[in-house]
Each structure stands twice: as C-alpha cells, then as structure tokens.
Subunit: 284 residues, 2 copies
Amino acid sequence: MQFNISLCGIVFLIVASAAQAQTPADNDWRTIDPANTLYMDLDTGRIIIELAPQFAPRHVDNIRTLVREKYFDAQRINRVQDNFVAQWGDESIAKPLGKAKRTLTAEFTRSAVGLPFIALPDPDTYAPQVGFVDGFPAARDLEKGQAWPVHCYATVGVGRDNDSDSGGGTELYVVIGHSPRQLDRNITVVGRVVRGMSLLSSLPRGTGDMGKYEERSQHTIIRSIRVASDLAESEREPLEALRTDSKRFAEQTEARRNRRDEWYKVQAGHIDVCNVPLPVRKKK
Amino acid sequence: MQFNISLCGIVFLIVASAAQAQTPADNDWRTIDPANTLYMDLDTGRIIIELAPQFAPRHVDNIRTLVREKYFDAQRINRVQDNFVAQWGDESIAKPLGKAKRTLTAEFTRSAVGLPFIALPDPDTYAPQVGFVDGFPAARDLEKGQAWPVHCYATVGVGRDNDSDSGGGTELYVVIGHSPRQLDRNITVVGRVVRGMSLLSSLPRGTGDMGKYEERSQHTIIRSIRVASDLAESEREPLEALRTDSKRFAEQTEARRNRRDEWYKVQAGHIDVCNVPLPVRKKK
C-alpha cells in the first residue's frame, strides 16, 4: 500500500512538472548559434558540434576558416582509442592550407573575470570549483583568476605535439570514455558534440599505438564538415539547449544530485560535473 | 638545448624504471583466480571478467551456478545505451533455472572492517574516501563502517527492478561510458572486465528506450560464458594483475597524479579513482 502511495506521489510530480513545462518559460532554452555550429557528415550520419569561442576564440576562428577551405572534406577518423578519444584530421600534414593557420598560440585557460559561471556545490577531484558556462562544463580557480572548459564525454579539443603552441585545429579529438580530466589546462578545448555522439563512440577501436588504426582501409572517411550558418536556412537543423543559468537547469541538476525515483535506494547527494545532463532539442 | 636535456632526463627515467622492472619484484603481480574468472565468448572475440566475491559472495556464487547451468549460452546483448551500459541476459525471464536463483538479497555494500583498502589521497565527489580493494576500485565510509565497489568504466553489475532484492545475476551490465557513480550503493557490483572491453564498448547503440535494441536481429548473441577453472588448464588464458597494495602500483598512480612526461604542461596533482590504470597482463 505504501508502495502504491509512493508511486502516486511520483506520478503527481511528473504531471506537475509536465504542466510547468508548458508554461511560457521557454526562455529557459537558448538557440544554438549557427555560426558556432559544425555539421560533420559521415556515411553513417551527422555529428553536430557546438563551438566554444568564449574559451578559445582564436582556435574557433581558425577552425571555421579550415572548414570554409574544405580542409576536413575527405579527411579521416584515424584514431579511436578505447575509453579515451576518437581523432580526425590530417596527420600527414599533407593537405595545403589557404588563409587558415596550422598552429596557434594555445588557449588552455582564460580569465575568470566577467565569465558567467554557474557553480556546482559539490567537491571535485581536479579543480577548486566546477560548474557551467553557457552550456559547457567548466572549472575555475578564483585565486589564480583562471577558468577553463573541462574534459567530459563529448568534449572536443585540438590535438597537439609536445609544444603548447603546436596545435591549431587541423587535428581534432572527441572524448568517448570516462572523462580524462588530466587533459584539462593542457590542451585547447573548442566545443562539444551535441548530436550524434554514438556515431563516434561506437566506432571500432584502433589496435595500433594510441588507438591508431593499423590499416588505412579501417579509417572512417569524413564526407564534409560545414558551418551551419554557411548553409541556406532550409538546410540547417536548428537546435536549442537548456540554458545552464536557468532555474529549470538548477532544478534538473538538483533532481540528479538526489534522485527521487523509486529505483534509487541511496541518494548520492552530490554530482560529478560530467554526469550532469546538458539537454539539447530541436528548435520548436 | 634545454629541451634536449629534459628529453635525456626522461629517457634516463624510463631506462631506470625498465631496469627496476626486471628485478625479481614480480610478487607485485597476483594471479587472477580462475575460479573468479569468466570467459564470455562472442563471435567477435572473448571478454574476460574478474569476479569480486569479497564484495558480493552470494551473487558471485549464483552467477557461477548460472554459468554452469549454461544459462547465458545463446543469450543476447539486448541493450547498449550510449555513455552508460551494455546489458545482457534473459529479459523475458523465459529460460528455466536449475539450482541457480533468480533473485537474491542485495549486496550493495559490505562491512569495511577487515577489508584491505588502499586509499587515494584525493577528494572524491561521491564518497568520503576512494581507493582499491584487491584490484577493484572502491569506496568506504568509516563513520558508517561500510565499503562498496564503485562504478567505473568496465565495472560489471547485476540488473534489477525497483525492489532492492529483485536481481540475482540473470541480467548483467557493464559500464561503457563516464562513470555513473550515482549507481554506487544502489546495485550489486560483481566484478570488472579485464580483457575485451572494446568488444562491448564499440557495439552499435540501441535506439529504443534506455538503449534497448528495437529489433531482435540487432542483438549480439553470446556463444557461451564459462568459469575458467571449469576448463582444462590448456584451455585457460592465465592472467595476472598488478597488486593494488604493491609499491609499484603506488608509484604508477603517483606518476599519473603528476605526469612528468614532456607533453603535460600542468600537472593535475590529483587523480579520479576511475582514471587510475589497473594493469592486467598474460601470466608469464
């Protein structure tokens, strides 16, 4: 009997929350800027990436230029390392560039000043504070005055060699496993995949060193990468993201910190920054 | 020039460490007990699971019984949810059991008393303390006197319905994404995959509710699951794991907390329990 009462309680909560969802609170959602949206098309489907110029303005600009020079078209996903990253681009440095740069000064961190930061209340293993900036998981160190995007599942970054300034965007990677937070502040993060992650995460793993494929025939060919704003409106797929500075996002995160559904017997009471859902939907 | 000197320093460290590795310190490695080893064979290859009876003795016993009754043979991987779990077993509850039980009393936590626990010094988002027990990532709460295995990439657990005691091992899952630590203390963990994770992590994702496949034809068929000790010695693949209570493991973990290779510009100074490598190799 008590079980039934609990269940009714849950149903009531869901109904109440659905009703609330139909109130005109849709400024809880922001349109993802087409100028910061990349469409990466494989034979198997489309991956959509939201770029983060607030963290890496130079790299984002350069990646847009690379895309406009069709740099990535017919390039290959040549590395898929289990529980780490999938990587693509021109590892042979053979394809000529136009105005795009091959290397740029690193953008590992930025000033925390003036950056709208929604902090999580929970302790983090790697940073003094973690939270969200405009939909991106992030960290900051107020003593040092620095902020940076953190490596979660779906984070997109810029491959580089040993030198800090040896990357520019000609090779990109996405996290496909447990968050490799040791990369934070060591590499330039340029965005995150908001659609189509499973097209990358389910690729066969490379069996060579660092997950490189041993045969060129194993590579996945990229048909093209385009900036959404370069396409006619009719060819775009407009998306919107739940604003991470909205009350609804705060409520959703709190409901994840302390799960109230019947299945959970112990509430975690905390949440890892990489376990917080960042909802994205088709724009209405 | 300074760059070259640094590189030489690194080379020296590697050589020194390789020399040390050839000293007779091989009691740093423990043989994985064949009685706690499962071979799960797919058409694509073998997955090897180490069971954790120190955390879930009843469930491990029952899983051995299920395996010996050939319960899992010709069963299917019927759920692969991106960034969460792959799951297999008999969701229709159609296959009859012999002596094995369908449900058991839950084993979510155990007493921390008498449990050899190698603690990490770093803060954790979810537990008062995290570390390792006999090669398994784990947590403990000394105030409550409890310990439990934590959900990392490759952790294997027992699916259940809403009731705590509704699982028994007839449905098993493995974590294929970022660690879903909210499951800790809510579900019985029975071990971890020590070989062949990529056979599970690279499976196509199910497009149905909770990552279930929508068509039965999309399932991956399990040829068989066997307990290694039930096979002739000649048919086994003996493995050994780096002892998590060894000095070498402590040194390796410290080298990951503060990476000394040239590529890293900022040392994390910390490590997440799920980012610590747990080396397993063929037994010499």
